[in-house]
């Protein structure tokens, strides 16, 4: 008995372990990505927002589960658990329909395997797995109803299922109808089928015409089409078709003769399906996406040093990673001291992502970092309007309103953040600053941003270099903006402009010149045979010596660029001079990556 049970449950266990291992070790970035896309709020308003669409409650439940994605372990566990449960339920369905013939068993695993592959896509939402799970529960219940009264009750409960599950209740309905047509040949079966069709049509009409103000596409397609993945992914559609046709497929596989060598056949088929799934999963693995998510997660947690150390150890040529590296350097006041310690091959675009609106969830951090607090708030607000609250846009709204002294608005946002599971502590910390300008001023982060803000008004411009110029004109003491300006000039290799701008540093309170600016000044001096006006600042003693060493090293290869690149040591490569000589800027970043713009 035990051996039989073990053999029966082994495929489910393998499915669970495979899914868990893949999600936890190779695709954990998905959890951060999805956690950042939504914010579950324990409030009536949040629930009410989900009640205006069919299937909104399913989305609400998915949101509830998604809030735990702060932990990768939890994310991998819950997703794997759901598809394992689905596998168990569908196996029961197959057993119920085919009388435990083992040949039908692989069919029951097709759908969970398909969902396991779907899960490896960062757009895939747990609501789809939950939807199939609930549809399977309903279908299994309908198969196991022995009394006609219960069957009628189930049919009359369809409006409730529809309201809760939306499209997934329709998927259940289709599966149920196919089953009824193929398996229910008695009089009652036909009556129940007709009754179910009638109740379903009435339900759809009532919800469309009376209860909900939604277009027909939402009435029939929500929450299946609630995100990009559901709208566009062929695999998910394939899984859906399989689910609907499952009773038919079981019927076909159950034809006379199929039981011959059934165990062996089913084992081979199951192994093949499993093998194909593993191959697809391996091909789906995306180290670039994982790298971006890891960096972004560190940034959102304020782990700027970790980003700097990681990027310098494992330089990435991805523009988003370079953007966060530069941003982290800026937050630590080291932008012009260390930027060439990391990879800068995407050029000036990596400083602000060119103000790209499709990257607003990232560029808002840039505006916030340099002191353009109103623009950071603007972008955070736009993101909230389009996508709803997310942890980062809500925190940004709170911080920017506190900095601007709009305490009443900040309080409203804080009250929302307080009603979340993972961000209550942050809400508590920020909440202390309400109505306390002094506390805002003395806060390490907010106080500093307040000092960086423009003193005079101007309009934000689409050209970010111009925004920095306007900001510096309005607040000449803003060193972060100044270093961003200098970083842009360094990346543009404009040593003449750098020399011209360097005169401002003394007035800004610099006592030493940042390393890379010094390197640019030395390069300028070498080119012009004269130092620019540094308003009293002096170059550090070692810079000239480093430059001479660098020149000597380069000259020793008699212009063989390949040999130079190969032979220079790390210290020589981590300089503006090396970038000036060898740095090549790759093309438009949006064309440089293979997948979609939202992530890359």
């Amino acid at each position: 008995m035990d051996r039989k049970m073990t053999r029966k449950n082994l495929p489910v266990l393998i499915l669970f372990i495979t899914s868990f291992a893949y999600l936890y070790w190779f695709a954990a970035g998905i959890f951060f990505y999805q956690e950042q896309k939504s914010l579950f709020i324990f409030s009536y308003e949040y629930l009410a927002k989900h009640l205006v669409k069919p299937g909104g409650l399913l989305k609400y439940l998915a949101g509830f589960l998604t809030q735990g994605y702060l932990s990768d372990l939890y994310g991998a566990f819950i997703n794997s658990l759901i598809i394992a449960l689905l596998a168990i339920l569908l196996r029961s369905v197959a057993e119920r329909l085919s009388g435990s013939r083992s040949f039908t068993m692989p069919l029951a695993f097709l759908i969970p395997l398909g969902l396991m592959i779907c899960q490896s896509n960062y757009h895939f939402n747990i609501l789809h797995s939950l939807g199939f799970l609930l549809a399977a529960v309903l279908f299994l219940i309908s198969l196991n109803l022995t009394r006609k009264t219960f069957h009628v009750i189930l049919i009359f409960l369809f409006p409730v299922f529809y309201f809760m599950m939306g499209t997934y209740s329709l998927i259940y309905l289709c599966t149920y109808l196919i089953h009824s047509i193929l398996y229910q040949n008695n009089r009652y079966g036909r009556i129940f089928t007709l009754l179910q069709i009638f109740i379903s049509i009435v339900t759809l009409v009532l919800f469309y015409k009376l209860f909900l103000y939604q277009p027909f596409s939402v009435i029939t397609g929500y929450p299946f089409i609630s995100n990009e993945y559901g709208r566009a992914n062929g695999l998910l559609y394939g899984v859906t078709v399989l689910f609907v046709l499952l009773p038919g497929l079981i019927k076909i596989s159950d034809l006379p003769g199929s039981e011959k060598h059934a165990t062996a056949k089913s084992t081979v088929i199951a192994a093949c399906l499993y093998g194909i799934s593993i191959i697809v999963l391996v091909r789906q693995y995306d180290p670039v996406f994982e790298g971006i998510m890891r960096t972004e997660k560190r940034y959102c947690s304020g782990k700027f040093d970790e980003i700097i150390v990681h990027h310098e150890k494992y330089p990435s040529s991805n523009i988003i990673e370079q953007f966060y590296y530069n941003l982290s350097l800026s937050e630590k006041g080291k932008l012009c001291d260390r930027m060439f310690f990391g990879c800068q091959d995407t050029g000036p675009m990596s400083l602000s992502l060119g103000g790209n609106r499709e990257q607003a969830s990232r560029t808002m951090h840039y505006y916030y970092a340099v002191g353009l607090v109103n623009e950071a708030r603007h972008l955070a607000f736009e993101l909230m309007v389009i996508n709803g609250y997310s942890p980062e846009n809500l925190k940004m709204l709170i911080k920017t309103e506190l900095i601007n002294g709009n305490f009443r608005v900040a309080e409203r946002y804080l009250n929302i953040l307080k009603k979340t599971l993972g961000y209550r502590t942050e809400a508590g910390r920020l909440g202390k600053m309400l109505e306390n300008t002094e506390l805002v001023n003395t806060d390490d982060e907010l106080g500093e941003k307040r000092k960086l803000m423009p003193k005079d008004d101007f309009f934000i411009h689409t050209e970010d270099a111009m925004n920095i110029d306007l900001l510096l004109k309005s607040n000449p003491a803003n060193r972060k903006a100044f270093e961003y300006k200098m970083a842009r000039l360094l990346l543009e290799k404009d040593i003449l402009a750098i020399a011209e701008e360097s005169v401002k540093m003394a007035d800004m309170g610099y006592t030493t010149i940042p390393r890379h600016i010094e390197e640019a000044i030395v390069a300028f001096a070498s080119y012009k045979k004269a130092l620019p006006d540094l308003a009293g600042l002096v170059l550090s003693a070692g810079t000239n010596a480093r430059f001479l060493n660098y020149v000597r090293s380069v000259n020793s290869f008699a212009g063989d660029r390949a040999a130079i690149k190969k032979s220079l040591n790390r210290a020589e490569k981590d300089t503006f001079w090396y970038y000036l000589q060898f740095g090549q800027i790759r093309g438009d970043f949006t064309r440089s990556r293979p997948v979609d713009r939202n992530v890359y």
Binding site: S43, E45, K209, Y213, Q214, P215, V218, L372, V373, N374, E375, H378, F381, E382, M384, V385, I386, I403, N404, G405, N406, R408, V409, R412, Y413, N415, M453, P454, K455, D456, D457, F458, F459, I460, L470, L471, S474
Partner: protein, 489 residues
């Protein structure tokens, strides 16, 4: 109030409290001040048919006893454990009906130590002039550029009932713009929609139709509408608008017109024509508003901006043109309030139903007052052209306003509660010297405004429910739009 009345009130209060709760009145400590309540409904003037003025007590306490007495003799009490004071509709009607002219509310808080604190009572004046039963407003995020959800809502002023007049989910998430009801024939209205289902949706009392009013002869789309009282015409302004984002703290958005002109539309003939005169080329004209007798078209105008203009120097004056509704001809422009002379700018003129007063928004510069914190409401007496700041204003934005059908109530958008989201405030108006303290539209949940992150845009009183609802707009949007024809007069 004489001593005997005071004595009676004290006795009645003591009896009420002691009788209801077995409290020793010696335990009650007077706070010697009125309680903090949210929204601030103390000292306001309300119409007798307004919805229950639910509020939240902003004082510490485990329990609250609220005693309400009306001048019509009705007296009752409400207990609250969470500080929210919710009036049952039936009780509220009893308190405000039967010619009541005021209600008085007294609050006693029971704190953690079971000590009783009695606050000084506050009152609400009740006006016998009713307010229109419906309020129409656009409900959206106080946003910058994007939108996803947007509704035009009809809210009952007498209860808390709400109806979706337009739901943009049914219109492919298009942007719902200005709405306008004919003041004398409420069954006639129009709503502007921008996007794939865009156009001006007209209801002529019978049918709802989608129309495209922009013709090749026009530089920009029609924007701000005003129905002629006869219902025969609609005046529009056609505006080419841009917006920019301020970077200094305290300011958010600047919306500016690069060009604007006035147009006259005849819905029956489907003809649109320019409102031209010799001055038109030199001015930007916007915010048309008909006088109730239909003899004048009021509007705002500023000198046409040129390239590289300074937006802070754009100042709109209030002007008007005589109109002959038989011929459809306009007279010459006449400036009746030169705001630019006092370094200010005018927007949103709105005239009382009797034609005597005009309420306008005055702000430092430009045309889009809702993002101007300094924007305030002013009253212009059209008989003697005296202008006066209304006592309804606050330190935050006061803007878009409209009159009730009987001219006794003005509803306006105010951002006074948080500086960001506009809320509909209603104020009593009898004459420049006789006005009431404004109150925010009451909600079933008195804490709603504190939580709500959406804004109430362009509130307008509506005397009766329109004949169409949200799904009718969807049906109308599915049909090919009627295209207006241009005619030069």
């Amino acid at each position: 109030m004489n001593l005997s009345v005071i004595g009676s009130v004290i006795f009645a209060t003591a009896t009420f409290i002691a009788g209801c709760n077995g409290i020793d009145i010696r335990d009650i400590q007077p706070a010697n001040r009125q309680p903090a309540i949210e929204p601030d409904y103390s000292g306001i003037t309300i119409p007798y048919n307004i919805a229950p003025m639910n509020f939240r007590i902003g004082e510490e306490g485990k329990k609250f006893l609220v005693r309400i007495s009306s001048s019509n003799g009705i007296c009752n009490k409400i207990r609250s454990s969470d500080g929210n004071v919710i009036f049952p509709l039936k009780l509220w009607r009893a308190l405000t009906g039967n010619n009541a002219d005021s209600i008085e509310i007294e609050i006693i808080a029971v704190n953690k130590d079971k000590k009783y604190i009695k606050y000084s009572p506050f009152s609400m004046k009740i006006s016998g002039d009713s307010v229109d039963p419906w309020l129409c407003y656009r409900f959206l995020y106080p946003g910058y550029e994007t939108w996803v959800e947007m509704q035009l809502i009809l809210r009952s002023t007498e209860t808390f009932k709400e109806k979706y007049f337009i739901e943009n989910q049914l219109l492919e998430r298009n942007c719902i713009n200005c709405h306008s009801f004919n003041s004398k024939k409420a069954e006639r209205f129009l709503v502007q929609v921008r996007g794939s289902k865009g156009g001006t949706y007209f209801h002529d009392g019978m049918d709802l139709t989608r129309r495209i009013l922009r013709t090749d002869n026009m530089k920009a789309n029609v924007v701000y509408p005003s129905w002629h009282p006869s219902g025969k015409y609609v005046a529009f302004s056609s505006n080419r608008t841009i917006q920019s984002f301020h970077m200094k703290a305290g300011k958010n958005i600047e919306v500016m017109d690069l060009f604007s002109s006035l147009l006259l539309y005849d819905p029956d003939q489907n003809l649109i024509s320019p409102v031209s005169d010799r001055d038109t080329a030199n001015y930007m004209e916007t915010y048309p508003c008909w006088a109730p007798d239909g003899k004048y078209l009021y509007y705002c105008r500023a000198e046409q901006v040129m390239e590289g203009f300074d937006y802070r120097k754009i100042k709109y004056d209030l002007a008007r043109k005589r109109f002959d509704s038989d011929t459809g001809e306009f007279g010459p422009a006449e400036v009746i309030f030169s705001a630019s002379e006092i370094n200010k700018s005018v927007s949103f003129p709105s005239i009382s139903p009797d034609g005597r007063y005009l309420v306008l928004t005055l702000h430092d510069y430009g045309t889009f007052s809702i993002w101007h914190r300094e924007a305030d409401l002013y009253l212009l007496d059209l008989q003697n052209m005296d202008i006066k700041k209304l006592p309804f204003n606050s330190n935050e934005t006061e803007s878009y306003h409209s009159w009730s059908s009987n001219g006794r109530w003005i509803v306006f958008s105010s951002k006074r509660l948080d500086g960001l989201t506009a809320r509909p405030f209603i104020a009593f108006f009898e004459s420049p010297g006789k006005t009431g303290k404004p109150f925010v539209l009451p909600q079933k949940d008195p804490t709603l405004y504190r939580r709500l992150d959406k804004t109430f845009n362009r509130p307008e009183f509506v005397p009766a429910l329109p004949a169409s609802e949200a799904r009718d707009f969807m049906k109308a949007s599915a049909k090919p739009p009627l295209k207006a024809r241009w005619i030069e007069k």
